[in-house]
Symmetry: C2
């Protein structure tokens, strides 16, 4: 509030604001314990602040939760996936890039924990699920759909139903990499593994939808270097 160089301003380095300390602590606790499993006491302890300070910064538990989600959401940015769809490369290269963006998106443990939490709390906070679907999953799907539609019009691919094809492509990438991590607490796949899965996803996808037979080698050509 203080207009000039507020009290806690060590040039805002390191520990940043108390508020942010609390927020990052809250994100840790909420992500591991869920909404109902988290008490204000726990957040206070985790952040090193007093419980009263937490209430000083956030009107209620729900308010803290909302702001925490906003912070997490901000850090994720689906944009990295969406932006890859504008490229002017060959379909194969572009799909590799999009696929890698999708695969990399889920690498940080927090991202998976976030998904888990969205699913868990979607019953009690439907708007959370809505926004996730609209801006997350849905956005990615729409971007891929649009990209495929474009490729259809330029006859670069033979896609009859771009929406379904987009879902297929995402499924080819996500199912091998993600599904076990959501339900079980599996470890994030290595870079090599991710690259390989994406490579295979693109190969399979193009085997079906490619016009010029991209799958250059009739048998099983270029494995990505192990």
């Amino acid at each position: 509030m203080s207009k000039s160089v507020g009290k806690t301003s060590t040039v805002e380095a390191e520990a940043s604001t108390k508020r942010e300390q609390i927020l990052t602590a809250a994100s840790r606790v909420f992500l591991t314990q869920g909404y109902r499993g988290t008490s204000m006491e726990m957040v206070a302890k985790e952040s090193g602040a007093g419980r009263q300070t937490v209430y000083n910064q956030f009107a209620s538990k729900k308010a803290l939760f909302d702001d925490t989600l906003a912070l997490l959401w901000e850090k994720m940015s689906v944009d990295r996936i969406v932006s890859r769809t504008g490229s002017d490369r060959s379909p194969e290269e572009a799909l590799l890039e999009i696929g890698n963006a999708i695969a990399d998106f889920w690498v940080p443990e927090n991202t998976v924990a976030f998904l888990r939490m969205v699913i868990a709390e979607s019953i009690h906070f439907p708007e959370l699920a809505d926004s996730f679907f609209t801006f997350g999953q849905g956005a990615a799907r729409r971007a891929v759909t649009e990209y495929l539609s474009m490729l259809r019009e330029t006859r670069a691919l033979e896609v009859l139903d771009p929406e379904l094809a987009a879902a297929q492509f995402i499924g080819l990438v996500n199912e091998p990499l993600l599904s076990s991590r959501v339900v079980d607490g599996g470890k994030a796949p290595s870079t090599v593994r991710r690259r390989r899965v994406v490579h295979e996803a693109v190969r399979t996808f193009l085997a079906r939808y490619g016009t010029d037979k991209h799958s250059a080698s009739p048998r099983h050509g270029s494995e990505p270097r192990r």
Copy 2:
């Protein structure tokens, strides 16, 4: 306990045992509200029984939860998916059957609610996630993997990595049908939609892994009848 025709035995028809009444009520409440969101009071109300009776039948809330899960689990039976993998039909027909079994598995609202709940409670009850992964998702994946391995050995398909291919196939089916339902509360897809998605999944899969070019029609052949 009573050796002969116990008291509540209207030939055990209709309302069945009090215990079962409570269990089915509990499954409704747990599935919609989650573990922490469910109180013994709610279960009692929902089942029409007194709270004390609930405690009479189940030692604790956790015990009730476990038994409820066992009941739900029993009703689901992944066997329907696994058993389809033994067929002696052509790969195309077999894959269609397996794919349809997977797609149909998720039709009942309860199945999706169950998955949602497993994800939600997996933090607090890791053994729940474990058993789900082992006997549910994992079992299906293993069955498909084995089937593909077999096809590889008989040279019916050109599958280098049956495990990855199995995950791909499941992803081709599940992502278009399931992912939006888990996070959002979307409605179950129609039979027509399911058949179509599975058909497309098989087409894509075989375009990549088929030996004789199954995708008989070079362009886009047999659409399933709309």
